[in-house]
Amino acid sequence: MRLSSFGVLPVSIRQKIKLLAVLCVGFVLTGCDAFSPPEAKFVVREETTELTDDVADSVEKELESAFGTPHELVAWLKLPIDYGGIPGATEESDIEGPLNKFPVAFDAEADEVFQSQFREEDGEFHFGERGTRLDWVTGEYAGQTMHVTGYDPEKNFLTTREKMEIAPAAGDTFVLSAGDKLKAGRALYMEHCMHCHGVSGDGNGPTAPYLNPRPRDYRLGQFKFKSTKPAEKIRRDDLSRIIKYGIPGTYMPSFLLLEEDQLLALVEYVRWLSMRGELEYRADQELILASGLTEEIIDERIEDGDTPEEIQEEVDDAVAEMPELFDGLAEGLAESWAFAEDEESLIVPTVARVPDTFESRARGRKFFLEKCTNCHGYNGRGNGSMTEDFQENEQTKELYPEPGLFDIWGNPIKPRNLTKGLYRGGRRPIDLYRRLFGGIGPSKMPNFATTDPSTLWDTVNYVMHIPFEKPDEYTEVDQEYFEQKKAAGGEEPKTADRDADSAEIKQTSTGTTESSDQG
């Protein structure tokens, strides 16, 4: 069903006044264009443009029919998105057509359904000139959009602006105000998020080039700070938290002042953008890796002696099968996004936090020495040896030209400096536990899902205490660890490195959150 466009205007009166003021100035300065976003269309992925023209067009067409454009959103019911709207059904009646009045029933309480249309002053429902949108889902009028202009609460009768030749059958279903939530999300997204995250959620809005770290590109369907198990998607709750509290150490600010329903609408829009992007990405992967339908590969094949007719046939087949390909991919996608909301996906510790004692931290320190120092460094300053090695690009299988670590978006990243006391994914013990248990897939921090939960808690205790560590607090623990290692035949890390790092840390003050942590 198509959700026709509404302006991206926010709702509160205060903002309206503010906008009105801006509008006056805006017209004078730049004309009417001041309001449309600079690129009010979805960006096409680079991989899509590499496909041969017919296939690329077909991918774009398929995407548009499933998602629409930023101005005209489409509610594709295959996806686990709450587009907003209130479902209802018609009831038995003996009125015969032509008519524009019919009895209905809602799952929700009727006074809730028409809450926003009800006026206390006169005790009547006001639907305005346009009326409230009604989309038929099943029955004679399936797929049609009508407009409700009246409601009789006693008989549960709806009046529509449109006249119907024959009465809708009892049990025909419809949705009122379909897509309201997604549209509200879009308005908020355009106001608060678009300038960094881009219209398409590609993390490449107008202000993005000035930011380090770069804003998230949602289009891989991957997020760093989530509460779900390693392979699972992000939950609505996680996105809510990020929007509400921001991400310290990055440019993602807190939007705490958003109302709860605004927050939920925004979360839904971000999920929708993310699913749209991921679908395009997966379709491209399928068409490139499995079918080999890029311009480049086709050229090579023609050079190798394949006839253009042969190839055209393959292209035609791919285009003809595009709807099935999208349906299939969407099904998988829908399943994984829906499963993230399931209790089973959530990381819940099986034991309570181990009391935060020196002994616990010392055990955590040993685990840290075992698993974490390669990236986070001997003292947790984020300067482990991996940050100086050349890493391999997983897609091209080539070494990156610069040393250091890269995330799946190809941006250089630094392991967190744990002495700063800045925790991007939240500073509650459970946040750190989930970071360890689930890892941070997109930035290649490994997960420790199979590690004993008490050991994880020890490590959480240790990590949370790093900013407050005294210079020689763990010297004995370290010695003991290295002796054990030696006894077991393991190799001791070069002491020179350790000493250099330790000397450096003695000169800097620990236990402060004053300095920023960029990177």
């Binding site: 202000t207 310290p248 440019y251 509650r428 013990p429 536990y433 949370m464 300095s515 920023s516």
Partner: protein, 267 residues
Amino acid sequence: MRWFWILFFAVCPIAALVICIIAPGMDWWFPSEAGSPLGERIDSLFHLILYIVTGTFIGTQIAMVFVLWKSSKQDDERAWFSHGSHNLEVIWTIVPAGILLFIALYQMDVWAEYRVVSNFPKEARRAPVAEVMARQFEWRIRYPEPGRILQIQAQPTDLYAVNELIVPAAKPVMIYLKTQDVQHSFFLPELRVKQDAVPGQIIPVWFEATKPGEYDLVCAELCGWGHYKMGARVVALAEEEFAAAMEQLETEQSDDGFAESGDDDEE
């Protein structure tokens, strides 16, 4: 035509007078009534200045209309050119200087109480409620654990929040204002507090919300492209509610996600 100008210049001061008289009552100058005792005194200073300026404005306008009216009657007399009057100039220098000096001295009490740390209310100075760290583009807040004193250095027991500063109502409170990057300005319009946050400095700011409620906290220093995003709120709570809110914050922050039921992620 000449009568039009005479009338025009006569109507101006009259309109100005009317506006000045009704403005304070209509809340045109300030965002709502001052929500703090010091804010009320700041308002009354503004009003005093408003009255002085209004009087001066009306006086000069009357003089001008008088000159216009008088010379409009002298059709054939030529205007004469003057090199000024020494006496007049001395008068109109000394009188405004005196007024300015009066304002400068008269406001000193309020200024001192507002800005000079040793004049801050003792109970506010003794126990700062929080450190407010401005950064592009939000307000990060650090509270001491209930029962402890806020330290300049972060403590393991500190509590953290963002864009919402909770303070007890009806009592003076002090915060430490800092910035992580550029200059920002801590602005509580309803409480009449505005203080720049300057890189490298820890600036004590005190205020008192007379009534419990929510107050706007905004940034009043153009600090970058996202300056407009720095909207936050100060929530003033009655004493017991404040204690409860702090306790809740503490509980939330020490959440280890372990619950018998297995469902924990509600806030």
